[in-house]
């Protein structure tokens, strides 16, 4: 079975996790136009490559960030939001 490293609980089976979609910076809801908000909600590049994603460890209720190659399914790093390691990982382009 495939495994994922939860930053709080260590390596766990993938079946304990939920995928939360690509991480995107939220624009200021008060200052953004309707189009900017729609772009934030809906539009994305989504071509394969290394992506920053939200994942959720369901038994412990932990949301965290995974950097994952969506073409090969390799997970390069997992960490809590805001705790980005000075990573060995290249920033997603």
């Amino acid at each position: 079975m495939k495994l994922l490293n939860c930053p709080m609980n260590g390596v766990r089976p993938l079946s304990e996790f939920l995928f939360g979609g690509e991480f995107r910076e939220m624009p200021n809801p008060d200052a953004s136009t309707d189009l900017e908000w729609a772009s934030y909600v809906h539009y994305r590049d989504n071509a394969p490559g290394i992506k920053k994603e939200w994942w959720y460890h369901s038994p412990s209720g932990t949301w965290f960030i995974a950097e994952r190659n969506t073409l090969t399914d390799e997970v390069l790093a997992t960490y809590l939001h805001g705790n980005s390691p000075v990573s060995k990982v290249k920033e997603p382009s």
Binding site: F19, G21, R44, T70, L71
Partner: protein, 413 residues
């Protein structure tokens, strides 16, 4: 028959004509270029030639004809959707499918089976009633049926599903059918080719040339082709093509898996779907049970298949049909499904002049093959979207006019 075979075997030269020409060198320019030689792209090429007289068209296929999602789906054709726009659109497709074997002069093995969407809970029954009423309202034959009618149509099924999730009723959709999916692509390819469309297999698009917001041409592995109109009909590869033109869409790619059992004598007449058990199943004309489940749970651009899938799916199949416990699975595979947030396709114009999109086909693409080809051909020829696809436009997301087509996929949503 045997004599014919023997004559071929000894005769040397194979005398059956090819389905379409083996094109190798593209011309310098075409009136339109279609990226993707699946059912949708080939149907669009066919109707461009047939309905609009536009025959100077190239279809570019990275692999081989019908080797993508056209040959990976579970071949179900139906129109029992939830929104009037969706029901009208898929109903037009079913009607085209019904006459398609004759039109394309190829046996699609189009087989009208009737389609049951099983409901195991009160809330599922409520959705079935809703869908039935919308369907009836626009003239599509769907109705809610009780367990007696289900038992009559499929006496082999354990209506209690091994006691775990008893069936309360179902949405019965009479026009529900299955067809030979690769034959649809081959039929459209032959039809388009005979009218002058050129089909290039093993031809990859590497870039799309845009100047001043207008498409100028396409860079391919067989050289540069200039054209003012490009249609992208590439399903799971849509984000990669869109990246070439710097177009963002809401499409996310998830693998969708399916499998078939060993062949059996015919026993399952109908198509059965259960949203709660994440199962759909029908028996093909070869006797195999064709089975599918819900999407893989996270984004992944690959056609790898997993043991998790077979294990989960077959446990539910055995809940429904305990006597199948000794039947073997002989093949499994996956396709890349291009999923949209509202489970409706993205079709029509884009902000880039001359770049048209036929995408977002997720788990509902095969049944729409004829109508998507027809409406996209109309859209390309007139540079104006066809009326039937207005609500599927890309700009619906920034207009905050999503379709809400939750009845789209039978399973998992």
């Amino acid at each position: 028959m045997a004599y014919q075979l023997l004559k071929y075997a000894l005769g040397g030269e194979y005398k059956e004509p090819r389905f379409f020409r083996d094109c190798q060198t593209p011309k310098k320019s075409y009136d339109a270029v279609i990226i993707g030689g699946g059912g949708h792209g080939l149907a669009a090429a066919y109707y461009l030639a047939k309905d609009h007289g536009i025959t100077n068209v190239a279809v570019l296929e990275k692999g081989y004809i019908g080797g993508g999602n056209t040959g990976r789906n579970t071949t179900i054709v139906r129109s029992n959707y939830l929104t009037p726009d969706g029901v009208n659109f898929y109903d037009a497709s079913v009607k085209l499918f019904e006459g398609l074997s004759t039109e394309l002069d190829i046996n699609l093995f189009y087989s009208n089976r009737g389609h049951f969407t099983l409901a195991h809970s009160d809330s599922a029954m409520r959705t079935m009633r809703w869908r039935a009423e919308v369907n009836k309202h626009v003239g599509v034959k769907s109705r809610v049926v009780g367990t007696d009618e289900i038992a009559k149509a499929c006496p082999q099924m354990d209506l209690s599903c091994s006691g775990k999730s008893p069936i309360q009723g179902a949405l019965y959709h009479e026009p529900g059918s299955i067809a030979r999916h690769d034959a649809v692509a081959w039929g459209y390819a032959r039809g388009a080719d005979s009218m002058g469309v050129e089909i290039f297999q093993n031809t990859e698009v590497q870039g799309i040339d845009i100047q001043n917001g207008q498409v100028q041409g396409v860079q391919t592995s067989r050289g540069y082709i200039s054209t003012g109109k490009v249609l992208s009909a590439v399903a799971g590869f849509t984000p990669r093509i869109c990246k070439m033109v710097d177009l963002k869409t809401p499409i996310v790619i998830h693998p969708l898996q399916a499998c078939v059992s060993e062949p059996m004598k015919p026993w399952l007449d109908t198509i059965l779907v259960s949203g709660s058990l994440h199962v759909y199943v029908s028996q093909s004309s070869r006797g195999e049970l064709v089975m599918g489940s819900s999407l893989d749970p996270y984004e992944f651009h690959s056609t790898r298949s997993t043991f998790d899938f077979v294990e989960g799916l077959t446990s539910h199949i055995v809940d429904m049909f305990p006597f199948l416990s000794n039947v073997k699975i002989v093949r499994q595979w996956a396709g890349m499904a291009d999923i949209t947030p509202d489970f409706a396709p993205i079709m029509g114009m884009t902000p880039i002049k001359g770049f048209y999109l036929d995408a977002g086909w997720g788990t509902w693409g095969f049944k729409a093959t004829p109508i998507s080809g027809k409406t996209m051909a109309h859209t390309l020829a007139n540079d104006k979207p066809h009326d039937l696809i207005h609500s599927f436009r890309l700009s619906r997301f920034e207009d905050y006019e999503l379709t809400g087509e939750k009845g789209a996929a039978s399973v998992g949503h």
